[in-house]
């Protein structure tokens, strides 16, 4: 067979950013937002934005990060994972263990050091253990806390624990060709198993007490929370920016083509010679790792993590955000996560005024979830493209 080569028709190689103008837009807006929050913050600027609000905004950025991860795995690759919030929580637990251990160790060393003779290492670790685990009636440091004293080790675990879990689980699930709703249910089962496991007192993560006091950063205990909150805000903004860039790069180009093709017709992709399971596993694991990192940044700002955070419902909410924001476009996920989570904390936090209808008083704390549920049904039925779909509309209007 002959193939005619006609040089005129070869399209020039195109640059990543020119193909993806939204990335530049997003980076610019994120930078601007970071600058504004910093300038208005209590810790470093004019003090218009309270420390608490800075934390909420920083946490929202982390939620946006996990939302884009969810968007890649679901919106692009078609795997409706109901387990990504579990990976988020695992990242939080991994960093929480260090935060709690290191801070307690400082306290224990301080108090033991006041005695006539210096403490032994064993006394210190026993003291830390009984301080941390007294609440679940134990005074021994569980095996999984072996590296809790080392920041690099726990940082590695932030990536490794969600990554390895996703790898093993994904390998098992994809290998047996579990797809669609089955896969969703299976990931939900995984999440349920994990949260039930964490709820137990004897599994070494303090049962339903969870890990607390995470807002105190060892080595920076003197630094006021107002300043720490801005640091974490920066870190969250940086992580979101890098995550956005990473995922934008992943989903553009041929890899993006392949995973979208898998979403639309995975059998056909197999007949093209692609190892579909490998691709799914790659995407599932990569997004799980990013979710873990997002969690590791989120929980020091939240201050506490407990197994209820990991419950299956949280992962479903994640899907809700992405769906409302608009699947299959990264900025859609960001919009959805930011919009719904901020609206939710405003309405349930008592910030919104109740509406008096004469006969009936709408108390937002009671009715917000009803509204969210029904709104979500409406979005699924009438606006499958979500809020992000509006941008398509705007862009198409412009020549």
């Amino acid at each position: 067979m002959t193939i005619m080569t006609s040089p005129e028709t070869i399209t020039p190689r195109r640059s990543f950013l020119r193909d993806n103008p939204s990335v530049l837009w997003f980076m610019g807006l994120l930078g601007l937002f970071t600058l504004i929050v910093t300038l208005l913050s209590e810790g470093m600027g004019m003090g218009v934005i309270s420390t608490n609000l800075v934390k909420i905004l920083g946490m929202t950025l982390c939620l946006c990060l996990i939302a884009i991860a969810m968007d890649v795995v679901w919106g692009y690759c078609g795997i409706l994972s109901l387990g990504h919030f579990a990976f988020f929580g695992l990242g939080g637990y991994a960093i929480g263990m260090w935060l709690m251990y290191a801070r307690t160790e400082i306290v224990i060393r301080d108090s033991l050091g006041r005695g006539a003779i210096p403490p032994t290492e064993r006394e210190v670790s026993e003291g830390v253990a009984s301080q941390i685990f007294g609440v679940v009636g134990s005074s021994e440091l569980p095996l999984i806390w072996s590296f809790a004293g080392s920041l690099p080790a726990q940082l590695a675990l932030v990536v490794l624990v969600p990554g390895v879990l996703a790898l093993v689980f994904g390998w098992l699930a994809f290998r047996s060709r579990v797809t669609g709703v089955y896969l969703s249910i299976l990931t939900q089962a995984m999440t349920l198993a994990l949260s039930l496991y964490l709820f137990q007192n004897d599994t070494g993560l303090r049962g339903n007490n969870g890990l607390s006091g995470l807002q105190n950063i060892p080595g920076a205990l003197e630094v006021p929370q107002a300043v720490i909150s801005v640091w974490f805000f920066w870190a969250s903004a940086l992580a979101l920016g890098l995550g956005y860039l990473l995922f934008a790069w992943v989903v553009s180009g041929k890899f993006g083509s392949v995973i979208r093709a898998i979403r639309d017709n995975e059998a056909r992709v197999r007949f093209l010679g692609y190892n579909v399971e490998g691709y799914k596993l790659f995407v599932f694991t990569l997004t799980a790792v990013v979710a873990g990192i997002a969690g590791a940044l989120y929980y020091p700002q939240a201050g506490i993590i407990n197994p209820a955070e990991i419950a299956p419902i949280a992962s479903i909410y994640l899907a809700v955000w992405v769906a409302i924001g608009g699947r299959g476009r990264l900025y859609g996920a960001v919009i959805g996560a930011a919009f719904v989570s901020l609206l939710s904390s405003w309405l349930t936090g008592g910030g919104a005024p109740n509406v008096d209808l004469g006969l009936f008083r709408i108390v937002w704390t009671d009715w917000w979830l009803v509204l969210l549920g029904l709104g979500f049904v409406a979005v699924t039925l009438f606006f499958p493209k979500g809020i992000g779909g509006l941008f398509d509309y705007l862009v198409r209007k412009q020549p």
Binding site: M1, S6, F255, R260, D264, A267, V269, N275
Partner: protein
Amino acid sequence: MTTLLEVSGVSVTFDGFRAINNLSIAIGEPELRAVIGPNGAGKTTFMDIVTGKTRPDEGKVLWGEKSIDLVRMSESQIAKAGIGRKFQKPTVFEDQSVRANLSMALKNKRGPFSVLAWKATEADNARIVALADEVGLTERLEHRAGDLSHGQKQWLEIGMLLAQDPRLLLVDEPAAGMTPAEREHTTDLLKRAAKTRAVVVIEHDMEFIRRLDCRVTVLHEGSVLAEGSLNHVTKNQQVIDVYLGR
């Protein structure tokens, strides 16, 4: 002509129904082969078995010089080994551009990491353009595949099949929904492809088969009823019985 694919003694049962019954077919390289038969004769199931979609209960499917057994390989491994398939119903990725569709099918490394690092070379782009030219979609390279007409989708799928550069093409009813002119083009294309590789065509349209002018295998109830030139098989009494009904 050497034997490229050898299906021997293959049987498949669905819930007690024997779709394929001790089927043996050999395809050479290069060769153009037409497979015909009444509905339910097992034509599509035969393709399913070769491409790994269905696992046979017994029998062997041997491939290539090294006689690798395809039965134990996954769909993607079989595709990578050099077997391309066009489905009865055109299946292209409607959400993506014609270029992206062709680009995915190009014969490049298929692993996630190589694909992640992949950038279109001059040669790749040239090949895409040439393929588009071949199937008459040059003008529509940047359009969504979903916006193409039914016939154009058929063409795109054939283009993707050629892009894979397979040693064996399995083509299931390529002419369905095509105009007479398009059919002619398709026959030319298939005949040309069959000069360097093996092509197996399933088709109902006898006129189309006649134009292919090749060896014909008649399937009936999951096994081979007759084989030879079209003229030869149409004179076979058994074949006439099967087609006209007893």
